[in-house]
């Protein structure tokens, strides 16, 4: 069943829903990247929680006009309106009052969500309309989704992707260097507004599948994950969109196979699994690679210190240093240098003497800045420069030939 779901073998409707979710995941990953880079990720949490009263009110309005209150477009329009109100309130509170943005987000989020829950309770006491399924907006569900619902989601997600493609340059500049953006004539507030509109669109469209509580994860986890893999904005955007799409695809397929599983949490857990893998394994920024780099560096430092100690004829106290010297064949177990060790020690000392000399000479300022106690000096200076330095070392009493 699960494999059938993953390979889209569960029938036309399930397939459509899975593909719709995938597009939504991509749109969220792509749109969320700029939110993350602009350091405003939590605003999306306020937006998503602020949708709930809108959903409930839209249901009530539609019922009062004689419908059953289940029209998705109507519900999403209500969600968009109240989310927009919440967004305006957050920006008003943080710009016009002394409230910091995090406090503004916290207040708006909780008040709107509380209002929404009260309205949902009221709806449960209503006799008209078919309120069953409204609570799916909290955690998301693909069960009972109509083909038209899936199409709406797919189209809206595709539009969002197109908008990001169109605005990628202003969005990048507004995130990286808004002052410069203004100086070259970009309307940064309007770009910010477009970004928030984008996030609002993704949130509202994603309500049905992921649910309002967890949609924030779909906007934040993919970009944070993608950041591990690249140092380029355009690549981070693409990777984030891909990861978001993968997480949503797997999540939606699994929940189509097991209709009791809530879709949103599964998508988020798949996204988290991708995040955890990246955190550990990504080259460059990953934890494992950082650990290895640190160990390698530490090893070089120990070796260098050990060699310098050998050159000075000092005893080596640290077991680790001694172990490394022995492993390289530079020292005997009692800490006495081998033939090879004496040669390496002399070279290390000569290098160090040269480094100390150029560090005290302003003429070598640029080169001296690369001193880290490890870099061989011949990678920094030319042979002529080294000869010039050596002549001075000899003048000062021939520290070491």
């Amino acid at each position: 069943m699960i494999w059938e779901a993953l390979f889209l073998q569960l029938g036309y409707n399930a397939t459509l829903v899975t593909l719709g979710a995938t597009l939504l995941g991509m749109a969220a990953g792509v749109g969320g990247t700029f939110l993350f880079l602009r350091k405003r990720a939590l605003v999306s949490d306020a937006i998503s929680h602020a949708t709930l009263p809108g959903v409930a009110l839209a249901f009530m309005v539609m019922v009062s006009f004689g419908g059953d209150g289940r029209n998705l477009i109507g519900l999403l329009a209500g969600a968009a309106l109240s989310a927009g109100a919440g967004l305006l309130l957050v920006s008003w509170l943080s710009n016009r009052t002394r409230l910091a943005e995090d406090a503004a987000i916290g207040s708006v989020l909780s008040v709107f969500f509380g209002l929404g829950i009260v309205l949902l309770t009221v709806i449960q006491t209503m006799s008209a309309g078919r309120q069953a399924g409204l609570e799916d907006f909290l955690l998301g569900s693909t069960a009972g989704m109509l083909r038209s619902d899936a199409l709406i989601i797919a189209v809206a997600a595709a539009l969002t992707l197109a908008l990001v493609l169109l605005l990628r340059r202003p969005l990048t500049l507004a995130s990286f260097d808004p002052e410069y953006g203004t100086a070259i004539g970009q309307n940064v507030p309007r770009t910010d507004l477009a970004m928030m509109g984008l996030v609002l669109a993704v949130t509202v469209v994603g309500l049905k599948i992921v649910g309002l509580i967890l949609i924030v994860a779909l906007l934040i986890i993919p970009p944070v994950t993608a950041r591990f893999w690249s140092e380029r904005t355009d690549h981070v955007v693409l990777i984030s969109g891909t990861l978001g799409g993968i997480a949503a695809y797997i999540g939606a397929a699994l929940s189509a196979a097991q209709p009791n599983l809530p879709t949103g949490p599964i998508i988020v857990l798949v996204g988290f699994a991708l995040f955890a893998l990246s955190l550990l394994l990504a080259p460059g920024r990953g934890a494992l690679s950082a650990l290895l780099r640190h160990r390698r560096y530490q090893r070089r430092v120990h070796l260098r210190q050990g060699l310098l100690a050998l050159a000075h004829g000092q005893p080596i106290y640290e077991q680790r240093t001694l172990r490394l010297l022995r492993a390289e064949g530079y020292a005997l177990p009692d800490g006495v240098a081998t033939q090879a060790g004496r040669g390496r020690a002399a070279k290390a000392l000569r290098d160090e003497t040269r480094w100390q000399l150029i560090r005290s000479d302003p003429a070598y300022k640029a080169a001296a800045q690369q001193y880290d106690g490890l870099t061989p000096i011949e990678t920094v200076l030319t042979t002529d420069q080294i000869r010039e330095i050596d002549s001075r070392i000899d003048l000062r009493g021939g520290v070491m030939a």
Partner: protein, 263 residues
Amino acid sequence: MTLELASSQETVAPRAESPLAVRGMTVSYGQKPAVFSVDMTVEPGKMTAIIGPNGAGKSTLLKAALGILTPLAGTATVYGKPVEQQRHRIAYVPQRASVDWDFPTRVVDVVLMGLYPQLGLLGRIRPVHRARAADCLARVGMEDFATRQIGQLSGGQQQRVFLARALAQDADLYLLDEPFAGVDAATEKAIIAVLKSLRDAGKTVVAVHHDLSTVPEYFDNVFLINTHRVAEGRVEEVFQAHHLQDAYGGRLAGAQMDALQLS
């Protein structure tokens, strides 16, 4: 005292074609003005330093003139027209501390940002644009760093990249906010060489500057500010002890003044 000064010293005559003319600029954070009713007329084809003590409103004046900050009052014109119409002629180098250096972007990507107005929203980055970016990086001596992530650079190198981005714009007026803050001596030399070559090519350069000792060596003109305009004009006429003491409110010690070797 300020009033007396304003009347007693010669003002550079406002001309329609000034690369940057500021009139009656007032900017305030809260109720306290950071810049109060300042007039400034930048002379074309010269290098002008904006100097003054900490908190005197140097950067604020520049940002307000560019529309980065919204002033309470005042206008700025660039080559005789409103700034909004002349953006393509202005290149701006912001303070290094104003951006997030862990941002996922490489040196060459930052320089390409200088070409965004030219590229538009969807214009493709073509070899000619890459060549231009590489050329600008070479002018500031950073061609070997093109594919580095910007956070891996030293402060001086970051400043050079910002300058390369401004060069890519191929503007007529270059505005720099503290370009020498926290950079090494080699970078300072490289930057000033580039700025002088711009000036010699007929461009106009305005820089917020904080190191009084290098003013006569680096700049042609000075603009002294301490919330109010204190003095403005040629270095040899304006960069003098009494003006400096006015701007710095007596905060310059005698020894510091002597070290400046004022004319």
